[in-house]
């Protein structure tokens, strides 16, 4: 009798984005990854600018700066700043939780089950609130505070 191979059923990298109706922390993980990659791409451009263009002298530098004061670039810059704020604060939360500092002790599972991260969700929501406040502060400075 022919041996039938089981069919592979991996979600693949799409499974990072959507695998079901999960809750907050899974999307914080996704956003952490997206912001990290976004900052990496920005960082490549930024590194090029502050090395190649800076060392070529004042004229090249000021020409670059005038180009970058275009509103479209400013929107991108704002997004990168907010991405950095999110990635940094979420990263600090991850460091504290991954080393098990703030998660508490194992407790016997009594229905309805509350896992350790769910119990600490108020702190996570507070972190999200701080990120939103800082994003608004940056928005104020980018718009009203002058380009």
């Amino acid at each position: 009798m022919k041996q039938i191979q089981p069919r592979q059923n991996y979600l693949g990298a799409g499974g990072w984005v959507w695998a079901g109706n999960y809750k907050l922390e899974r999307y914080l993980y996704l956003l952490h990854r997206v912001t990290g990659l976004g900052i990496l791409l920005f960082g490549l451009i930024h590194l090029t600018m502050t090395t190649f263009f800076r060392i070529q002298g004042q004229d090249v530098w000021e020409a670059t700066m005038t180009l970058l004061h275009n509103p479209w670039f400013k929107v991108g810059e704002y997004l990168v700043a907010v991405a950095f704020v999110y990635h940094a604060l979420n990263g600090l939360r991850l460091i504290l939780q991954e080393l098990g500092f703030v998660l508490g002790k194992p407790t016997p599972p009594i229905y309805p089950y509350k896992d350790a991260l769910r119990k600490k969700r108020p702190w996570t929501m507070a972190m999200v609130a701080v990120i939103v406040i800082l994003a608004l502060v940056f928005l104020f400075d980018f718009t009203i505070g002058g380009w």
Binding site: P6, N9, A13, G15, A19, G20, L99, G100, P109, R118
Partner: protein
């Protein structure tokens, strides 16, 4: 007790016959469901009355054997433990658990998960192996020491956490939350001394450090095990050992034989005449 008249619920079940189909497809069934019916009851109704070729696993029907894990309306559940009414919908979409290979219809191949589980050495490892094989007395363990890992002993190996994990979705070599939580369960057991051996399995490129705390595993676990907590505590142990912090604790000793003998209780009188 009135159950209400049964209403028709549409079960969209993923079918896949490896001998005939090229790819899986959804098949619809109309199942009369009433209050108190579980999804497993619905599947059994389909198998008994509508299509007996439907394949799925079931055994205990009380959420203790871990056989009936399935993706129901895009979330992994145990079919025996999930009421049809809790979805508040007339359509249920039932698929096999993702991130495990499919054998047929709703049957997922859990053998790869069991092999990974074996690779983290899920047994007590001690230097006095002779004592483990031929015990002379029990190992002493305080209730507080038991509480440090008791929550993680309730794993029924259903595979739902591995289906929920985003890293398991793309990384075929990732150990998965089930194996790593059980690794912590043994490392945290005060009777065990095999932490170093397990660290070489778990502290690799596709081990503990590829967990990014999405915590979908703990959210989906049907037994409230919290594998995410176990993995973070395992990371803490790895970090302490990498930095050289933390006291070295020797494993639980064997209980010493009792020094006082209890007073002998006299044999009671026979109560039924003529039975001796």
């Amino acid at each position: 007790m009135t159950e209400g008249s049964p209403k028709q619920v549409t079960f969209k079940v993923q079918r896949y016959d490896p001998e005939q189909d090229n790819s899986p497809h959804l098949q619809e069934f109309a199942v009369p469901s009433s209050r108190g019916m579980t999804v497993l009851d619905g599947l059994l109704y389909i198998k008994e009355n509508l299509d007996s070729t439907l394949a799925f696993r079931t055994s205990c029907r009380m959420a203790i054997c871990g056989s009936c894990g399935m993706l129901i309306n895009n979330y992994p559940h145990l079919a025996c433990h999930t009421q049809i009414e809790e979805f508040n919908s007339n359509t249920l979409t039932i698929k096999p658990l993702p991130n495990q290979p499919i054998i047929k219809d709703l049957v997922a191949d859990l053998v790869p998960m069991f092999n990974v589980h074996k690779s983290i050495k899920p047994y007590i490892i001690r230097e006095d192996a002779g004592e483990v094989q031929n015990p002379t007395a029990e190992f002493s363990q305080l209730p507080q020491e038991l509480d440090a890992f008791l929550q993680f002993t309730y794993c029924i190996k259903c595979g739902i956490c591995v289906s929920a994990c985003p890293t398991s979705a793309s990384d075929k070599l990732f150990l998965g939350p089930q194996a790593m939580a059980q690794c912590y369960r043994y490392c945290a057991d005060s009777r065990d001394d095999g932490q170093r051996e397990r660290f070489s399995v778990v502290g690799t490129d596709h081990g503990v450090w590829r967990c990014h705390l999405a915590a979908a595993c703990s959210e989906a676990c049907p037994k409230g095990l919290d594998p995410a907590l176990a993995i973070q505590l395992l990371k803490r142990r790895l970090a302490s050992q990498a930095l050289g912090l933390g006291k070295k604790q020797s494993p639980s000793p064997v209980v010493s034989p009792p020094t006082e003998t209890k007073p002998k209780v006299p044999f009671p009188e026979f109560t039924v005449k003529g039975s001796q």
